[in-house]
Structure formats: structure tokens, C-alpha cells
Symmetry: C2
């Protein structure tokens, strides 16, 4: 019997959970702007009228995850009860319905909480589609007719730089040689770099130990966090260069710490350490600011990278138009899921800017490998100047985690989008009800949000008003 | 006894309510992108250790308001329990704490749901400050030493176009003649225009009747909604021009309906009706798109206006840098409340772009009159090319609503920021518990969100999973 998308006919339910990992206890993920992230995700399951389910997530760093969970609930009526046929035969229309709901769009539009929630739902829809086709997501994308793939994209607001017809032509032009590229992804995989040695909260000893360990494993590209203190940044860049030497790649990441002019002067001081790029030098909303920084740093051989906080395709469009990015760092959840990410890859291709996805977090590595492998096979046809971020934490929670082979991501073979977590992980880490969280509350390592009066007072009609 | 801010010493509680008005029943507020808005607000009250309270709101259009309410709760720990002295002596720092909370900022940053919530809280803090000083907000601002006023602004990410020192100098230069300008605002007021005749859902008869009625009242500036259908837009522009003649002002508003090139060609067709500006021609995120449209429409004498959906000072900064705006439409809630709006006014002054605030909605007229009057007295010193939007609905819910005198906003005299609503309105329109909502549910005019199984399924540890 052939399974396909029409085996399941309807979305009959959606569940959403607030999953958080207490990563701040170890300073994992700490940077100049986010000193204490608890890597988290909004975890969505779509239920159908068969055993097929779709799993989708949106990554956050702790507090605020509850808002994305609530936003998923507010959006859920737009998919629950819908026929899969209607959803997938006009996927761009489905996406538009989610992002442009006539009242909800006011609290966006297409940005922040509401767009992260769209991503979780849309990612689950893609996972479901790939599962029902018995293909990993990258293979679903690679095998799709160019017209069909392009039909999933909402071109609103990007028509001035990319039309549907151009996108179809781009994809058709890359069909030649795709079998060889597919084979390469399955056997050799896609090159990766590691950020795991460079968190801001790590001691010198820990950085050195981790770098040596990674080098022994064959890693050749390393990223560290900067931006809190110039002297400390120089010290840490020197530690890294002293260990990795001059031939390996160093990248630095300021996580939006600086003003525009400050970014330029700061990076001039770090230029002797020859970073390949400065990532997120300033506000992710500042297209013109990034363009100014990129121009100023070009003579120093330092590129500008950004994207993990770029809210949607409209900001990416402008970043590309303005020459503001030398490396385009798509994120699998920040924009509205796969459909919008595809649009960004195609625009990047048009402007000849390499895509180097943001990963790490929770499930980001799992997701972006699919997208980047599709890019290699069907869009750019090259890995030149391209590399996927890799961080090795939290891997144990995923049923089919990314596989790294000689510092390359191996193309996944399991159907879907690879974000399904073990039920035990979901039970343990649901916030604030999971067993692990209860233990942390009991140990006094975190404040239990369920205890004591809330700092806010909720009015209810005819109810009492309680002051703190 | 002199009351001042230190009479109250501490924020001891915060309440937040989901207030919605069923405006969609009458097509009030309908436009090309928002056909059925239910004008709503997130309503915050800050309680102190005295009888002084601060009232603050953030405007939304219905669904999604629940997310802003939740976000206020998530942020509330940053103000509840704090000393007023600490808040107001470093108001920029307080603002930064709210907008850059280390985990919550991930679901923004400084945009969408989380920034609307910041606005509600920050607006309440300003209302409280003005009340404790026994001054309307505009007067608090006007009387404040330039250094003190500028100290409330967070200059992060805008230092490349405006420094603290420049801002102080600007304000000092305008001190001369301020008494006369203040007097003018109290006696004559600030000029206004009306949008109330131009909603997309209105019939020809209703448009004509309303226009004649407004003209009889002395109104000379009218705005209508466009963007859904070009032939219908021509027809409606003609109706308006036929009634108002060639000397009065027509403005048109597309509410983000178009792509960049579409905006240009559409407006070329409407040029014969001589609109002063096209408002929100495309995505509010598209700085370069607005700049392209502004350049193309300049020879036709049509300006570009935008701002009600511009998410923060960084987008406004770029809009001004790129020459993308001929009219800067600040919003009192979209950006992070008064502190950030002040920064935008000062940047607009630097680029010599007139500010014409977005109003209407719920409480927007009440708030922007304070800001614009401050601009007239302390920043621009002129009303040339400047005008405040005016819509006359929902006025009955406010304790001290805006006062219109011969189509001018009269400077408010009551202490505070003018958004306090009658307790009865709050009780009646709290969603979904208020009496008015219960009646609408009973009449079957709205779906009661409290009835029937939710379309989503919430997992709980060891709980059941329910499918729909």
C-alpha cells in the first residue's frame, strides 16, 4: 500500500506544550545580550484522522515561551478541522491565512511572538507532509516539481525583487547534476562549524579544553561570542587564535550589542585576529546600519552576518538589496516556518549571498540541515563559503537527532523534519509541571512560578481586586 | 500640601484587563487588510501605596489582545515592587529593563506583542508621573528640563543619527516663545482631520451623509481607505472630491495592501484626485520600498505617510534616513510607550519631517494630543504640514475624553495621560466576561470562546490528551 498525503485527510487536533531546559545553570548559550538563556521551545503536535502526526517547534530562550504557546492556541482554529487537501494544495494561501488573520495580524504583523507561533504550526505541517510521503523533509523539497515548490511561497511584499517565474526558472536550472549532489549529501554530508567552545560565560580553561577537544575531532571553524568588553574580547580572540592557528576559521558574534559606529570601531580592534565575519553587530532591524558596517569592514576582510533575529522575508529582502549581509543566516523558527525560509533562500541566490544557517538552540540543528541540504542540491549547487552552525547539546531529547560525520551533517534518512522529541523528555521538561522542573524548584535553583501571589493582579467582573 | 512623585513611593500592584468593543458589527474601522476590527485595548492599572494610580493602554483590534494581556503579566515583575524613585530617576534604564529582559527579548525584540505590552506598562508609568505632579502629560513634558526629558530616552541603536547632546540642544533652542505656543494650544488647540467618513465597509449614502455632516462642522481634511479594488477606489475618491471640492484636503490609506511596484502604479491612477498622501502603501517593515514609492510619487505631488505599524525607533530611524516618509505617523502604543515616541519626534525634527500622529482606535486620540502638543510647544514650534487624526467613536468610555473645538484638539487640563476609562465600561466590555459580551454571545452575534471544546489540546503531565 502506498502511503501519501491523502491517507490522512484532516487535522483533527493540535496540542502545544511549553518545553524548557535549564541551560542557564551551566552558562550554555550565554552571550553579550542573553546572559542566562534557558533553551526552550513551543512544541506543537498536529493530530490527523490516521496515526500520522506532525511535530513542529519554535525555539525560544525561556521566559516568553508561554506567550508563543498562547499564540499557537490563538491561531489553532485556522488549521484544526481543516482538510489536508485544502491545506497543501494551496499552502501559500494557508500560510497567508495564518500570518494575515484579520485581527491577530495587528499584534504582529509577521513578527515576534505571533510569527514564532506561526513557525511552530507551519513546521508541524511540513513534518506531517514529509511523513505522509515517507521522505525526510529535504528529500520532499528536492523531489517536488519547481512549480509546486514555488506555489507554497507567499510572494507578497517581495515581488519587487523576486517573481514566481524567476524562482521556478532558478530551480529548473539547477536540476542538472542533482543526483550526484544528493549522493554527496548522503555519504559525505554538509560542512559544519562549532560555537560550543565560545559562550561568553565560559572560563579560559574551559574554552581551551573544548577547543582542543574539537580540533582533535577534526573541526576547523570556530565561533565565539564577543561584545561585552573589548579587552576581554581581545584576550579571548587571542586564546582561540593561539590554539587554532592562522589557517583555521574564527567567527565572532556580538548578538546585537552595539550601535552602528561602535560596531565599526570595535571590530577594527578585533581585525588583527582575522575573523571571517562579525555576526549581529547591531539591531537586527537595522538594514541601513548593517550596510554601513559591511562597507566599513570590507577593507579589513571582515564580513557581516545576520539573520537569526531578522523577523521576516521583508527584512531579509532589504538586507540583500542594501548589500548589508555577506552571510545570510536563516533561522528555522524566527520567520514563519519552511514556506518563508524557502523564499529567503531563493532571494539570497538571486543576490549571490551565501546562506549559513543559525543553529544550536533546541532542534535548530535538526531543522536547518534539511533546508541547507535542499539549498545545496536544488538552489545554490555549492558549499563554497557556506557552513552550518553546530552545537552538540540537548541532542539526547530527539528521537532522530542530527548525525555528524567528520564535522559534516549527514543527510537525514528518516521521514519528516527531525524535531520529534522523546515523550519522556516532553514529560520531564514541560514548564512548570514536568518532573525535572519540580526537582529544580524543590532544590531552590529556580523560583516556582506556581507558588505565591503573582506580581500582577487580574481583574474579573465582580471579582475582588487583590493588591500585592 | 504639595503632591509630587515621592508622595507615592512604590508600585505595589498591577492589574491588566482584556477590553474589547464590538466595532466590527458596524464596519467602523474597516480597511483593505482589516475588514472586521473589534477595537480593543490591553488596560493596565498600576497601584501605589497611596491613592495615586497610573492608567495605561495599548490598542489592538480584537483577537490577539489576549496575548498582549499575557505579555503584560510576563513583564509585570519588572515594575511591581519597585520604588518610584528608582523608576523615574533612571527612566531610560527602567525602559531598557522592560525591553531587554534577558529571556523575554528573544520573542521580540522590541516589536509585536511584547512591545505593545511594554507600551501599556510604560504609558501607565507616565500617567502616574503626570498625576503625581498634578499636570496633564503634555505639560509635564513641556515643563521638564531638556536634560531630564532626554534622560528618559534609550538611545541604543539610534546614536548614529541622534545623540543625547543634540537632543538637549534642540529642546533648548525651542524654549523661546513657548508661553505663547502653550497659550495657543489651550485656547485654539491643535488642528485635526477626520477618517470617520472613509471606512471601506461604508455605503455611498453613508459616506456622503457623513462628509456633509463633517463639512458643516467645519472639517477641511478627510481621509479614506483604499486598496481593495482600483475601480471602487476611483469611484469613492470621486464621491469625496465631488463633495469636498478641490480646495480641501483628501488623504488616502491603503493599510499595507500593496507590493512596492503595485503601490506606485495604483497611486498613479488615483493621482487625478490629488491626495495629499498615500498612507501605508506596503509592508510597514519595508524601508527601501517606502523610499522607492516616495521617490516615484514625488513628481505627482503625493507624499508617503506611515508609522502606525512601524515597530520601533530603529525602523523610524531608517525611514527618516532613507527619505521614505514625507509624513511621520507615530503611534502611542505600537512602539514602547512615551519614552520611545519622544525619540522618534526628535529624530523627525532632525530630518525635518512633520509628525502627523495615528489616532482613532481606543484611546489613541486621547494620548497623541499630549504628544503632538508637546511637539508644537517644545520641538517643532509649528503646525505647518501637521495635523492629528480624529475619529469620534468610543469617546463615551473615557472619563476625560479629548475635546474638539472647531476641528482642533484643545490641550487637556486634567492631570495624567487621559486614558482612564469609566469603571462601568471596563466591567461591561471585559472580554469575554463583561455584561455586553455576554449579551452578544446570547444573541448569537459572536461566538462565545468559553463554550465548547477549544480547537487546541493542552497536554498536561499525566493528563489526558483530548482530540477534537
Amino acid at each position: 500500500m502506498t502511503h501519501n498525503i491523502y491517507t490522512a485527510t484532516r487535522i483533527r487536533g493540535l496540542s502545544v506544550r511549553d518545553i524548557r531546559f535549564p541551560t542557564s545553570l551551566e552558562s550554555d548559550g550565554s552571550d553579550a545580550i542573553h546572559p542566562d538563556p534557558d533553551y526552550s521551545c513551543t512544541y506543537v503536535i498536529l493530530y490527523t484522522d490516521t496515526d500520522f502526526k506532525g511535530h513542529g517547534i519554535s525555539f525560544t530562550i525561556g521566559r516568553g515561551n508561554e506567550l508563543v504557546v498562547e499564540a499557537v492556541k490563538s491561531l489553532s482554529h485556522l488549521v484544526v478541522g481543516k482538510d489536508l487537501k485544502d491545506i497543501y494544495e494551496d499552502f501559500a494561501g494557508t500560510w497567508r491565512a495564518l500570518t494575515s488573520e484579520s485581527q491577530l495580524r495587528w499584534v504582529g504583523p509577521e513578527k515576534g511572538v505571533i510569527h514564532l507561533a506561526v513557525a511552530a504550526i507551519v513546521n508541524a505541517l511540513w513534518d506531517l507532509w514529509a511523513r505522509t510521503e515517507h521522505k525526510p523533509l529535504w528529500k520532499l523539497l528536492v523531489d517536488m516539481e519547481p512549480e509546486k515548490l514555488v506555489s507554497t511561497i507567499d510572494f507578497r511584499y517581495i515581488g519587487d525583487v523576486l517573481t514566481k517565474e524567476e524562482a521556478v526558472t532558478m530551480l529548473k536550472e539547477m536540476q542538472h547534476g542533482r543526483e550526484a549532489r544528493e549522493e554527496r549529501m548522503l555519504t559525505r554530508g554538509y560542512p559544519a562549524y562549532t560555537t560550543a567552545a565560545g559562550w561568553l560565560g565560559y572560563s579560559q580553561e574551559k574554552i581551551e579544553r573544548l577547543l582542543k577537544q574539537f580540533m582533535a575531532q577534526g573541526w576547523r571553524h570556530f565561533k565565539i561570542k564577543v561584545g561585552q568588553d573589548i579587552e576581554d574580547d581581545k584576550r579571548r580572540c587571542k586564546i582561540v587564535r593561539d590554539i587554532i592557528g592562522q589557517d583555521m576559521t574564527l567567527m565572532v558574534d556580538a548578538n546585537q550589542k552595539w550601535d552602528v559606529d561602535q560596531a565599526i570601531s570595535w571590530m577594527k580592534e578585533l581585525a588583527p585576529y582575522k575573523p571571517l565575519w562579525i555576526e549581529e553587530p547591531t539591531s537586527p532591524d537595522d538594514v541601513l546600519g548593517h550596510a554601513k558596517i559591511a562597507e566599513a569592514l570590507k577593507p579589513l576582510g571582515i564580513g557581516v552576518a545576520s539573520g537569526e533575529m531578522c523577523q521576516n522575508r521583508v527584512i531579509f529582502k532589504q538586507m540583500l538589496q542594501a548589500g548589508a549581509l555577506n552571510y545570510c543566516q536563516i533561522d528555522a523558527c524566527r520567520v514563519g516556518g519552511v514556506n518563508e525560509v524557502l523564499a529567503i533562500y531563493l532571494m539570497a541566490k538571486k543576490f549571490n549571498v551565501p546562506v549559513c544557517p543559525h543553529a544550536g538552540g533546541v532542534g535548530l540543528c535538526e531543522m536547518v540541515q534539511h533546508l541547507q541540504i535542499w539549498d545545496y542540491i536544488s538552489v545554490s549547487g555549492t558549499t563554497k563559503d557556506r557552513i552550518i552552525e553546530y552545537v552538540d547539546h540537548l541532542i539526547e531529547h530527539f528521537k532522530t537527532p542530527r548525525k555528524i560525520n567528520h564535522c559534516h551533517y549527514l543527510a537525514p534518512k528518516v521521514p519528516g523534519y527531525s524535531v520529534e522529541m522523546w515523550e519522556k523528555s516532553l514529560l520531564d521538561y514541560e514548564f512548570p509541571y514536568g518532573a525535572k522542573w519540580n526537582a529544580l524548584f524543590d532544590e531552590g535553583r529556580y523560583k516556582d512560578p506556581r507558588k505565591g501571589p503573582p506580581p500582577w493582579v487580574e481583574h474579573r467582573v465582580k471579582g475582588d481586586i487583590i493588591h500585592r
